[in-house]
Each structure stands twice: as structure tokens, then as C-alpha cells.
Homo-oligomer: 112 residues x 2
């Protein structure tokens, strides 16, 4: 339930997990489908999905017809927080680009 920016970036750093997110963006999938589509084994995908769950990127739910089937789908707000982090960064950039060349040779005599 994190929606933590650090966890989101950490989760999205892995190419397999990015692939999973790309797949889930086209609709929810079961765990077996995800593992097969990503080309990884079941146990490996289980750990990846746990990381994505901890980052708040995906959510799971049991299929009502078949209780052993686990369906995963994305959570829009989690990535929105990460996107906000990047936007907040760009907000600071506008200010930085104005005082850009001014600070280049600053603090030549600045031991502390």
C-alpha cells in the first residue's frame, strides 16, 4: 500500500517488471498468463508480482469462479505519484535554467 516513489522507481527499474506493467496496461491478467508472457518461470514471477504489490503498482484479487486463480491489474494512482515526482523536478528546473551559468564558477574558495 506504499505508493512510495522510491518503491515505484525501484520496481520499474527491472525490465521484467516493466514488461509486466506494459502487459497489464492492456488489461488484467492472471498470474500464469503474466509469467508465460514475460517468459519467466512461475516462482520468479511470483516474486516480481510481490514487489509490484508492495510498490502499490498492481493489485490482486481472487477470481470468484475459481478461487485458486489470482488476477492482477494495475493501479493508476501509484504511477501518478511517481509522475508527480518527475513533474516536481521539472518545476525546479525552470528556476535552475535561469540561474544556470551563474553558479558554474561559484564556491571556488568554499572549504565547508
Amino acid at each position: 500500500m506504499a505508493t512510495d516513489v522510491a518503491a515505484v522507481f525501484g520496481a520499474l527499474a527491472d525490465p521484467t517488471r516493466r514488461h509486466v506493467v506494459q502487459l497489464l496496461s492492456r488489461g488484467p491478467r492472471r498470474a500464469g498468463e503474466i509469467a508465460a508472457a514475460a517468459g519467466t518461470s512461475g516462482p520468479a514471477m511470483s516474486r516480481h508480482l510481490r514487489i509490484l504489490l508492495a510498490a502499490g503498482i498492481v493489485t490482486d484479487e481472487r477470481s470468484p469462479g475459481d478461487a485458486r486463480v489470482r488476477v492482477f491489474h494495475l493501479r493508476p494512482d501509484s504511477v501518478a505519484a511517481a509522475s508527480a515526482w518527475l513533474d516536481q523536478l521539472q518545476a525546479h528546473w525552470d528556476e535552475q535554467l535561469r540561474s544556470f551559468q551563474r553558479h558554474v564558477t561559484t564556491s571556488r574558495r568554499n572549504p565547508r
Copy 2:
């Protein structure tokens, strides 16, 4: 020169590098300043900065007054690419959320 989304997320996955990016968002800094602000040693920061350079997030330039001083500053377009990746994801979400509950109990009889 990457501006690669994978490299950007991988670079931003590390908390030390995120701290560096946060620092550089408030203006360009020298390598020594960055290492001191992040609380890490020079060699460790040198490797982090190399990763940020490879990801296209930061750029370096020699100080004209002091050639051994290396000043680092951010590159707005690099994070814009990563932000675009997240936005492209949200674009797919709108479609997914419409056919949301429809696919939950799909493929109950789908062995392969």
C-alpha cells in the same frame, strides 16, 4: 546520450542517485559538493554520476576558471522521456478501466 527509459528508471531506483537529482534540481553543483551533500565518498559518487551520465539525466562540464573542477547539472528532456512513458501507461489505463470487471472471470477454461 541515452535518454533511455530503462536506464532512467534504473538510475532513479537508487536512493543516493535520487538524492543527487533532488540536489541538482536546486541548481548545478560540483562533484565534491554532491558527494559531501549525499554523505557518500568521492569514489562512490563518481560511479553514481557516471550512471546518471549514461542515463542522460545529468551533464558535466569543466569549470572554465578551474579545469579540475567538474560541474554537473540536470537535463530536463531525459526525465521528460520517462514521464512520457508513465503518461503513455495512463493512456492505456483509461481503456482498461472501461473493460475492467469484464475480464475478471475470463479464461477459466484456458490451459495454454
